[in-house]
């Protein structure tokens, strides 16, 4: 059947030159791309561009203006707060996730815990600040209860509205977030691996040190990084808890942006925002790398 190799009628062919056939398929993606461009990429570009624009055109003065002790201090505080709350949240969140993972995977308890974690990881903000004020604020019920017994937890200062207070409050949303990201990794651990360790004569220590530990390490580190980025970009809780001053970077950006006395410095605010987005982006890239590694091992 050699006839079939040569059609009787020449149909329209792709032009030999001029590249691919013109297609209108890409039009279908235009609304989405335009929307994201307008409300995500354009604002980001405005921030990045704004960091290099002053009243007299292009300038680096916004970036050099950041060399002030209160600005550097705010960023240092942010890093300390984020690192402390990330490490505490990651360790405690991993413990809670382990307790959940060792239970019935379809049980009511697990469903309740994961739903609660979903809400608590998201729903920080003002509600969270108020929850802690109602608990250990100046009129909080634990504070009052302890006072009746002669203990004043604020004998030295009202530390709830300071950095140490923020660390405590932040763990309230960091732990649930860690549970959500760490649980899938724990689910990937198979009981057979433990049995294999035991059949080779290894005990609990050996299992955690040489099998489960190294397997879970990337997921744990990744989770910690995500928690760090999460705390670093948080604003609402601190804003609701601290009425005066800008002790952390996000508060500083907000105050620079909308100064009540009309001293708003949009250029400086953009520069500060740029620094924040760079730090968060670096952390998130590392997190993505670690997550990729985790999913390679645990599937």
């Amino acid at each position: 059947m050699t006839v079939a190799t040569k059609p009787l009628v020449e149909t329209a062919r792709r032009p030999l030159r001029g590249g691919r056939r013109f297609s209108l398929d890409w039009l279908g993606a235009v609304p989405f791309l335009a929307y994201v461009g307008l409300f995500l990429l354009l604002p980001t570009a405005i921030v990045v561009g704004g960091a290099f624009v002053g009243p007299k055109g292009l300038t680096l003065s916004n970036l050099t203006a950041m060399n002030k002790s209160y600005i550097i201090g705010a960023f240092v505080h942010s890093v300390v707060l984020s690192a402390a709350s990330a490490i505490i949240g990651a360790v405690l969140g991993a413990v809670l996730a382990y307790a959940v993972a060792t239970g019935n995977p379809k049980g009511v308890l697990r469903r309740l815990v994961t739903s609660a974690c979903g809400v608590l990881a998201q729903f920080g903000g003002v509600t969270l600040a108020f929850a802690f004020l109602a608990t250990i604020g100046l009129a909080g019920f634990i504070t009052l209860w302890l006072q009746q017994r002669g203990i004043n937890i604020y004998a030295n200062s009202f530390w709830l509205a300071e950095l140490s207070g923020l660390v405590l409050v932040y763990t309230y949303f960091q732990i649930p977030l860690m549970v959500l990201v760490f649980l899938p990794a724990l689910d990937g651990i198979r009981p057979q691996w433990r049995e294999a360790t035991e059949s080779l004569g290894g005990g609990t220590w050996h299992y955690w040190r040489y099998v489960a530990g190294p397997l879970l390490a990337p997921a744990f580190l990744g989770g910690t990084l995500l928690l760090f980025a999460n705390a670093f970009s948080a604003y609402a809780t601190a804003a609701a808890l601290i009425s005066q001053g800008s002790i952390i970077a996000s508060l500083l950006i907000a105050n620079t942006l909308t100064s009540e006395v009309g001293l708003a410095q949009p250029g400086l605010a953009s520069a500060l925002a740029l620094v924040m987005v760079v730090i968060v982006a670096v952390v998130m890239v590392l997190y993505t790398q670690l997550q990729r590694r985790t999913s390679k091992w645990l599937q």
Binding site: F123, T127, I175, P184, A240, V277, V280, A281, Q299
Partner: protein, 265 residues
């Protein structure tokens, strides 16, 4: 597993759940306690809860946030679902870019986004509308990372290509393919995505506050300066509402692949 170790594990679990349960429930219980306190030595009262509905600003903010939640959910579905289906069928080369763009808001903190949005919203309020509902534009971007994952899982669970080819060969247009073939096959993913959007929108504070709009969270914050008990009552009510939404969500069969998706992100 030896009996000894199983016992140890059970003790460990009970202790962990009790300790964490206390840490997470006490602040919420404290909010109930605080919101029902009477003045001085007066007995417990529900005055604060009743006052919610007598505070017009608060009611307006609650309604605005609910409207924003609905608009954002619908807008998100209208924008994202057709795009994701189209990309899957006709533009596979674009799928990485769409995924990247959808997950990008996780990397750009709200406080940064708001710095760039300020000029855009100034323009919007002058030329289009001053309504708080314009916040839905940016809220749609905020919910993208969460809804993308859910919708992606929902789409991966069905054979979009075969379904659409079958429908097309029977003469269906693209609108019919999307509206009557693919969407009915992934309704639980659509519902999940919508509920997640509602939860995110109801909890949003940063952007509304800095753009000078009074949504639910901003209103709780403002009322709290004058009347702590009332604002705490609203706060705890909205927290319960979000919790209820997510519990409902957990009952709509999450596809197994969801766990794997979370890891990928």
């Amino acid at each position: 597993m030896s009996r000894n170790r199983r016992l140890k594990l059970q003790v460990f679990r009970v202790v962990v759940f009790l300790v964490f349960g206390a840490f997470f429930l006490i602040p919420i219980g404290a909010m109930f306690e605080f919101s029902t306190r009477g003045n001085g030595d007066a007995p417990r009262t529900l005055v604060a809860w009743q006052t919610i509905f007598q505070t017009p600003d608060l009611v307006a903010a609650i309604l605005a946030s609910l409207a924003l939640a609905v608009i954002t959910s619908l807008g998100m579905l209208l924008l994202l679902v057709p795009t994701m289906i189209w990309v899957r069928l006709r533009l596979p080369s674009l799928s990485r870019i769409v995924e990247f763009l959808c997950l990008l808001p996780l990397t750009i903190p709200g406080i940064v986004l708001v710095a760039g949005l300020a000029p855009e919203y100034r323009w919007l309020s002058i030329n289009v509308s001053e309504s708080i509902l314009t916040l839905a534009f940016v809220y749609l971007v905020l919910v993208l990372p969460y809804t993308y994952r859910t919708l992606h899982t929902g789409l991966a669970a069905i054979d979009v290509k075969t379904l659409s080819e079958a429908a097309r060969s029977l003469g269906a247009g693209w609108a019919t393919v999307m509206g009557r073939i693919i969407v009915p096959n992934m309704w639980s993913a659509l519902l999940n995505a919508s509920l997640l959007s509602v939860a995110v929108v109801l909890g949003e504070f940063t952007i509304a506050n800095l753009l000078n709009y009074v949504n639910l969270q901003v209103s709780i914050f403002l009322v709290g300066k004058a009347n702590g008990a009332v604002s705490i009552a609203v706060a705890v009510a909205s927290l319960m509402f979000a919790f209820l939404l997510l519990v409902i969500l957990s009952f709509f069969g999450r596809p197994r692949a969801r766990v794997a998706r979370l890891e990928e992100a």
